[in-house]
């Protein structure tokens, strides 16, 4: 049967729509002109200028530190959460637990930002790195929990029973069987938590306070104060990082599924 070409045409248009603005931004970052639009020759001067902006590098260091810590904490909280949701599914406690884990995903960021800001102010907690980390963990836990839960649902728990029958203790079975098989899911969840933390602007903006600056907050103030060519250069570097991460993660998940296929 002949298929309509219409959906494929729309897809083409959508992909151009997705990538054209990014492409223009990347090209402009090499443009000697201060404004985009007119090409005034190839130049790396915006990148050179970027390296002489200590504020950007300090923000980048903060961002990395926050993201690493957030990834670690939310991975622990999210994994225990997923294990509980999976093993004790349908208990009344888990139904409440699931609602609590799921709801932050459907709440607009600005509401989480304002509510946490109000809670920190009411409790007299000083705004800064600590409040940013607490806030980031809060929205990352749900993503980690649901990602790991998805993997657990595909997981064949009879393997654990086999290990137990062969004499492994509960702890050994968890460490030697469950953990390695769960590793790709944990890696995917860690990647999500890390990216969410690095990218977050709205919630961070609300709970950051004057002292602590992250990269998105820096980028935002640059957008507001019109440092266009510098943001182009910085964005291009971040985009390159994103593309590499996606490529690597695709490779990892591809080889992961290959491994599980050969194991069957």
């Amino acid at each position: 049967m002949r298929r309509s070409r219409f959906p494929f045409i729309v897809t083409g248009v959508v992909l151009v729509f997705f990538y054209l603005p990014i492409l223009i931004l990347v090209v402009d970052s090499f443009n000697a002109s201060r404004f985009g639009g007119a090409w005034r020759g190839f130049s790396l001067k915006w990148y050179a200028r970027l390296f002489h902006e200590p504020a950007i590098w300090e923000a980048a260091r903060n961002t990395l530190f926050i993201a690493l810590l957030v990834t670690l904490v939310s991975l622990v909280l999210g994994t225990t959460s997923a294990l509980a949701l999976h093993r004790f599914a349908n208990s009344r406690l888990q139904r409440g637990h699931y609602t609590l884990v799921y709801t932050p995903l459907v709440v607009p960021e600005i509401l989480m930002g304002i509510s946490m800001l109000m809670a920190f102010v009411a409790a007299g907690v000083e705004l800064g790195m600590l409040t940013i980390i607490l806030a980031h963990v809060t929205f990352c836990v749900s993503y980690v929990a649901l990602t790991v839960l998805g993997r657990l649902q595909d997981f064949d728990f009879t393997i654990i029973e086999a290990a137990r029958d062969l004499g492994a203790s509960g702890w050994t079975a968890a460490r030697r069987v469950l953990l390695p098989m769960l590793a790709p899911g944990l890696a995917a969840a860690a990647l999500i938590a890390f990216t969410l933390s690095v990218d977050d602007f709205v919630i961070t903006f609300f709970v950051a306070g004057p002292g602590a600056t992250t990269l998105p907050i820096r980028v935002y103030s640059m957008i507001k104060h019109g440092a266009t060519p510098l943001i182009n250069a910085l964005s291009t570097l971040l985009l390159a990082l994103t593309f590499t991460t996606v490529l690597v993660s695709q490779r990892l998940s591809a080889s992961g599924s290959l491994k599980s296929r050969t194991m069957e």
Binding site: L25, G37, R87, Q94, L111, V121, T138, V141, I223, L238
Partner: protein, 299 residues
């Protein structure tokens, strides 16, 4: 795991459950649940002159909401989100279908092309549009060159720009759930409908769309709800005439530092978010009851 009878093991199981549940449960209660309730409580507190929260109780903050500007902004927020969601769906349904129907090799590439923007910084994607729509930017120059736009017209700082960039920002989130549903769809059903005399569009509307309903519902929610709380997009590409509820909340926090009033505006936003959620829940319960096949067919 095999269920072993006996009070001791049941108690141990209960203990394990509490041990595994406690960390995330307590964390989310403390940093998500309590703060959300606090927004409702603090809206009844006066603001203190140092940008904090004062003592005593007042209804003045809620009365300040009666200001017609908030009503018109709430309405604008609703219809901007509605329009952006409608456009996203018009683009996402054919795209999700096309990706699901592509040959395996091509599908992998298409899927990755859809996922990459998903991982790209939101702020950067919004900023990219600011510089293209800029008076010195490429699109403006092209449109002026083609004589489609007056040289003095501004492409930035109005509602059209806000809707365009909102669609750009949230479209990947709409495509993925539709793709996920379309990938599981049994396309022989469409062939059957065609054999029975349905026109292509009829088969699409009466067989395909109901078949991917769950994906469509998810797609609508993941665009509409964040769009209602949108702050970055109207802040960067919108003007004073295109402010949304999110801008108002941020202004109360960062411009005049009136946290109780910011909380009161947030309550309006919370209600605006709850309405579509409850509507979807009610709709799903209604459509599920008479049909009731979904649950039975699945093993």
């Amino acid at each position: 795991m095999p269920e072993r009878p006996g009070a001791g093991s049941r108690l141990r199981r209960r203990g394990q459950e509490i041990l595994l549940t406690a960390p995330s449960f307590l964390w989310l209660s403390l940093y998500f649940l309590v703060p959300t309730f606090l927004v409702f409580v603090l809206a009844f507190r006066p603001a203190d002159p140092f940008g904090g929260i004062g003592r005593g109780w007042t209804l003045a903050t809620l009365r300040a909401l009666a200001d017609p500007q908030y009503l018109s902004i709430a309405w604008r927020t609703f219809w901007v989100s509605f329009t952006a969601t409608a456009i996203c769906m018009l683009l996402a349904v054919p795209t999700g279908y096309a990706v699901a129907r592509a040959a395996p090799r091509r599908r992998k590439l298409l899927l990755m092309l859809v996922i990459v923007p998903f991982w790209t910084s939101f702020l950067i994607r919004v900023f990219a549009w600011k510089s293209i729509l800029h008076p010195e930017g490429l699109i403006k120059k092209t449109l002026v060159f083609l004589g489609l736009v007056d040289a003095n017209a501004s492409l930035l700082y109005h509602l059209g720009a806000v809707i365009l960039v909102t669609v750009y920002a949230f479209l990947p989130f709409a495509i993925l759930p539709i793709y996920a549903a379309a990938e599981k769809f049994d396309y022989r059903l469409i062939e059957a409908a065609r054999d029975l005399g349905a026109k292509p569009f009829q088969a699409f509307r009466k067989v395909f769309l109901p078949g991917v309903r769950q994906g469509l519902v998810t797609a609508v929610l993941v665009v509409f709800i964040p769009a209602l709380g949108s702050y970055v997009v109207p802040d960067i590409v919108g003007g004073t005439g295109s402010e949304l509820l999110g801008n108002k909340i941020a202004q109360r926090v960062f411009v005049d530092r009136n946290l109780p009033l910011a909380g009161a505006v947030s309550i309006v936003l919370i209600l605006a978010v709850l309405l579509p959620l409850l509507a979807v829940l009610a709709l799903q319960r209604q459509t599920k009851r008479p049909a009731g096949r979904d649950a039975k067919e699945r093993p």
